[in-house]
Structures are given as C-alpha cells and as structure tokens.
C-alpha cells in the first residue's frame, strides 16, 4: 500500500512539474525547407531569438524535400506552424497573415526601404504583403579562370552578350576529353528560365495573368530556346539532363566546362572544390538589358498562428540586420548589410547585386496566375522537346500554349 501511495505521489509531483515547465515555455513553431549548413544557420538565428525572449522556445521544423506536401497537409489539417518559409504565395496567401499594417507600424525599426524593390515584389499578392524576405539569390555565370588562361581566351566582362559567350565557349570544345565551354540544361527550372525571356524582351504570361498566346510562344521566346538548342547542336555547350543526371556543378568543379550559369546555391560547393573562378553577370541579348530570376526565401505567418504576436517578433528578428548578416549561404536582403560587408564591391559578389538592380520591373509568372503550376509543366515539356529536337522551338511552344488554353482564362 505504502509503495503504491508513494508511486502515485511521485507521479503527481511529476505531472505538476510538467505543467509548470509547459507554462514557463511558449513554443513557437517555425518550418523551413533548408537542410545542412543553411539549416544550421537558421537554428543559430532561432537560438539568438530565444536568448532575447526568455521563456520562448523556437521549434525549428525542417521539412526538407517534402516541404510543400508537409506544409499543405499541416494547413489542411488546421495545424500549421506559426511561422514558415514561403515562396508560393498565390497557393497559400488566403491562409497567411497580411503584414502591411504591422510593417507600417514598425517602420522605424524595420526600415522597409532597406529591402530592394525587386525582392518585395516576390512577397506580394494582389497588392498585399504576405512575407518578409530573409535571403535571396540572383543568377550569374561562374567561369574557370585557369581554363580561360590556359586556352588564351579573354575573361568575360560586364555588359557581355550571348554572342560573346558562344564565341568563347566554342574555343573550349574538346570532344575526345568531353570538355566544353558551357552547359545548357534540357530540364531547367522554368521559374529561373523566365529570366532569358525577360532579357530578350518578352515574358511567359501577360501582366494581368490572362494571356499566354503571343507571350510564351512569341518569336522572342522561341529565339531564346532555339539559341540554347543551337549551342547544344554546335557543341558549344554540353546538354544536361538528357537521360543522364550528371549536374552542371559537378562538371564545372571537375574542370569539364569552362562556364556555368547558376546561383548562390552552387557557390559553397565551388569554393570547396578549390578551383580558381570568377563571376560574370548574365549575358545580354544584343543591347537589351539582362534580367535575372529572383530566388527569394521569405518567411510568413499563418493566419491562425497559435502565437501571432510572438510570430511577428520572430519575423522581425529574422529579417533584422543582425539575423540577415548571419546568413552566409545566400545573399543579404538588406542593402545596408550588403554594403557594410563590402559585398557590393567584391568582384565575386558584385554581379549578383548589379543585376538585382535591373531585375525589379518584371514579376514571376506564378504570381500572376493561380494555375501556373500546370501551365509550367507544359512549358517545361516544350523546352525539353526543343533540346531533344535541337530546334523547332516555335512549334513546341505553340503546342504548350494550345495545351494550356484550358488553364488560362
């Protein structure tokens, strides 16, 4: 009897202790798609936030590859995280908290003008702001300095064109050793690919999101695709993702291609490979201005967040100069931080920021039409078909437009 009593007693003490700690700690759930180093950085930021807010615990939930599936399931089940990484605003915005009022109220602290306009464009739907940018990347061309020196080819310069790139690439062609000047992707991410259409004076879809005929399949668009297909045909470039999944970064790091078009996410791997490289801006089409796609990691608050005030504190901290400066795996979203770190002058980082300034006049297609995901798959197929065919872009793009008619009304 005594034994049993003491067990019950100790259980009660335990239970009370349990509720006591639960009350002392407020748990804020934060979902991210990042892994490895980038995740570690965010966990550091979360720790800093906990230090500043005693009694708060930030539960970092890394959903990794299954991010969209897990997040949408959480929303569907009515149990979303308080704060989450966000890119697909049209899909989720009805369940997210609009931040405009909060930003206006905290303007003195937040300094909204410190965020480049192009980045803020990517977090707005129908004129309302649903997230704060926390990191970003633009697209550039990495080039192998040793290969350029060895082949006696002049390194790329600011304001270079695709014709320049092709002329340089042709000089590296060495079929027996499988060495090429450049790589074109048969299955590029259509999100990034739109930058070439912008740079050539067109876009996937009209700004009102209602028309793709005459945009996605315009002559300017076909010209872009045909150019890449022709680069593959003349072997100025090797084709990636045609039944073989060797990545462009693997080839570049192995000295098999002299130039490689990519973004910040390739940089740490290239650094680790130890090759001597330079960074050039995206080439222009003739004398038209080059535009870059914007890869933005933003964070948003769920409309039904369990701790809305705490969530906003976290979002503010996440995009504060202190936290932004900690993110070394992508680029600082605050101009002040970028300048303070000297990145806007550093030859490796400068091209990323230069093109950001000219990439604020276009909006990514998925922000204009809710059905874009489906249209994009038809488009991806047209790009792949053009690369397999090594041409006929116009026909394949017309086909993609015809197949997408149902989706764009």
């Amino acid at each position: 009897m005594l034994n049993r009593k003491s067990i019950i007693g100790s259980l009660m003490v335990l239970a009370m202790a349990g509720t006591a700690t639960a009350r002392a700690e407020e748990i804020l759930r934060f979902a991210t798609w990042d892994t490895d180093e980038s995740l570690a950085i965010q966990q550091e930021i979360a720790k800093k936030f906990e230090e500043k807010h005693p009694g708060v615990k930030v539960q970092v939930e890394p959903y990794a590859d299954g991010y969209d599936q897990k997040l949408i399931a959480a929303f569907g089940a009515g149990n979303p995280p308080d704060v989450m990484y966000m890119w697909n605003f049209p899909q989720y915005y009805t369940s997210l908290k609009p931040l405009d009022d909060l930003i206006a109220k905290g303007a003195a602290e937040i300094k909204p003008d410190d965020f480049p306009k192009g980045l803020m464009n990517t977090v707005r739907v129908e004129g309302k702001t649903y997230g704060m940018p926390s990191g970003f990347t633009t697209q550039v061309v990495f080039y192998n300095k040793d290969m350029f020196a060895k082949a006696g080819v002049e390194e790329p310069k600011d304001g270079w064109t695709w014709d320049d790139l092709r002329a340089k690439a042709a000089k590296f062609r060495d079929e027996p050793n499988k060495v090429y000047g450049f790589a074109v992707d048969a299955k590029p991410d259509p999100y990034d690919f739109e930058q070439f259409l912008w740079s050539n004076g067109t876009k996937y879809i009209s700004d009102d999101g209602k028309k793709i005929d005459g945009y996605m399949n315009s002559d300017a668009a076909a010209q872009v695709l045909d150019m890449f297909a022709d680069m593959a045909k003349t072997q100025e470039a090797i084709t990636l993702n045609l039944g073989d999944d060797t990545s462009g970064s693997t080839l570049f790091k192995g000295g098999k291609i002299a130039m490689f078009q990519s973004a910040m996410w390739s940089k740490s791997g290239i650094d680790a490979s130890g090759i001597k490289y330079g960074v050039a801006p995206l080439p222009k089409f003739g004398d038209k201005t080059a535009h870059s796609a914007l890869g933005v990691s933003a964070i948003s608050i769920a409309k039904d967040a369990a701790h809305p005030d705490l969530a906003w504190e976290f979002v503010k901290f996440f995009s504060s100069p202190e936290a932004v400066a900690m993110r070394v795996n992508d680029l600082p979203v605050r101009t002040s931080v970028a300048e303070e770190k000297g990145m806007t002058k550093d030859p490796i980082y400068k091209p990323f920021f230069d093109i950001l300034a000219t990439s604020n006049s276009e909006t990514h297609a998925f922000l204009k039409n809710a059905n874009w995901g489906k249209v994009q798959d038809n488009l991806a197929r047209a790009i792949e078909a053009t690369m397999i065919d090594q041409g006929n872009a116009k026909q394949h793009l017309d086909d993609a437009v015809a197949r997408s008619k149902r989706l764009v009304k």
Binding site: I72, F75, R406
Partner: protein, 318 residues
Amino acid sequence: MDMTYAAATPAVEKRKRSAFARHIVAYLFISPWILGFLFFTLGPLVFSLTMSFYDWPVVGERSFVGLENYRSMLFEDPQFWESLWITVKFAAIYVPFNIVMSFLLALMLHHITFASGFFRTAFYLPSVISGVALVTIWSWIYSREYGLLNFMLSFVGIDGPNWLGDPNLAIVAIIIASLWGLGGTMLILLTGLKAIPKELYEAATVSGVPGWAQMVFITLPMLGPMLLFTFITSIISAFQQLTIALLLTKGGPLGSTYFFAMYIYDNAFKYFDMGYAAAGSWVMFIIVLLLSLGVMRWSAAWVYYEGEVRQNDGENNA
C-alpha cells in the same frame, strides 16, 4: 416427411437462435476488419466521390461545381487522354507478357526435378523487393554510361541505347522492370498446376493423347480460374502503375511514361487540386470496373469450374 418436419421444428428454432448468437460472436471477431473497412476504405471511397464534384484546393475555399471536373477532364484536358493512352498501351503489352511468362516459368518449375526449391526462390525473390529498392536497382541497370545492361550489350558489340532518355524506349524499360516482379503470378499458377489431379494425365497418356493435346485439353482448362484471376489482377495493377514511373523516369522523357495514376497523383499532390484528382480516380475506377466485368463475362466462354455443372450439360442429362 411432414411428420418428421413438424417434430423437428422446436429443435430447429433453438438451433436458429443459437446460430444467431454464434453469429454475433463471429461478427465481433471480424469487427476490427469491418470497422477498418468502413473507416479506411468505404469512408474515403464515398468521400472521394463527394470531393470529385467540388473545386477542392487544400488551402482556401472549396465550392460545389457539379460535373465540371469530369467535363473539363474529358473534353478539355489533353493530358488526360495522353496519360490514359500511355496506360492502355502499357497494359496491352504488360498483361499478356506477365501471364504468358509466369505460366511458362510455373510450367518449368512444375516439371523441374533438379534444385526446384532454389529456382522457385530465385524467381520469386524480385517480388519481395519493395518498390523504391527495385527502382534504384533498375536505374543502375539502365544507366546509359555505367549501366549493367549496356555493359552486357557491349560484349556482343551493341552500343547500348539511352534507355531512360529516349521517349520511345523509356516505356519499354518500364515494362521490363515491371515484369521483373512476376513471381507472385507465377506462384499462383504453380499452385494451380500442382492441384491438377495426376490421374487425368495418366488416363490421357494411356489413351495415347499427345503432350500438346494434354496441355490444351487438360492443363489450360483446369488452370482456367487461376488464369482468370491473374488476368484481372494484372489488369488492375497495370492501371495502377505508379511507383516505377514516378521514381525511374518521373513520367518523362517528354511525358512518354506519364501514366494515368501519375496524372492523378500530380493533380492531387503537386497541384493540390483534390477535386480534379478525385474525379480522375473515379474515372480510373470505372474503367477498371468495366474491363473486369468484360473479362468476367468473356471468361464464361473459356473458364471451367470443377464441380460446376453447365446448364446445357444439365439439359442433356435430363
């Protein structure tokens, strides 16, 4: 007769009651399965039918649209017809190959006397491997540069093709990979072969019936129900083909392996258009149902059930 019946009545009543009680116990015993069926099969089934009449995004407002999902799918969505056609092509090749090869293997195993246990295990083994592992193995086999298949072909002087990168070959590659798992079908047919009474063959041999005729007039008819069963399950699994295409080719190249199941999967879990995906599932269900019914009806002409007396036989006897 009447007397006996009347006398037996109270006893029958009693037995009836106790039978009822016994049934309650039986139902209780199978209730876990019944409840599971109601909640996890029938419930979702009815729910998905409801869903198919709605515009049903996971996040956001859902609205009733009647037959709009079905109309749009059948009349406006080329992807629907393309994926259906790819699936039909796949089934038309996969199903006969699956049955004929399983049958031949079963026949071989049935007659083999040397190390039969080993061969039985060896042929069945691939069926035990789960989908993802199987796909990983096949992606190594098919790899253009480093693949086992092209490596072997190089010994006989053939420069192996790009199996998964060629829009015409990728579907062939998927059929071959799918056929690898025919062990299950083979085992069913082998069991069927073992169940055929030896006396039939002995009698035939004594009467001087040649081997091929024994096959046509004894083996195949006796195996009829098993063949029908494997035929229908093969059709169903062919229509549900998803894992291999999803993981091995992701539906490509150029959508050449974009199966109907993948079309449904994408609508649900890539575009989060649940109502449209549910409508697709119901279209698939109806197609499979009609095919199965067709096969069942057709089977009356060639499947013979032991112990079943055919109607015209009965008439003859009378």
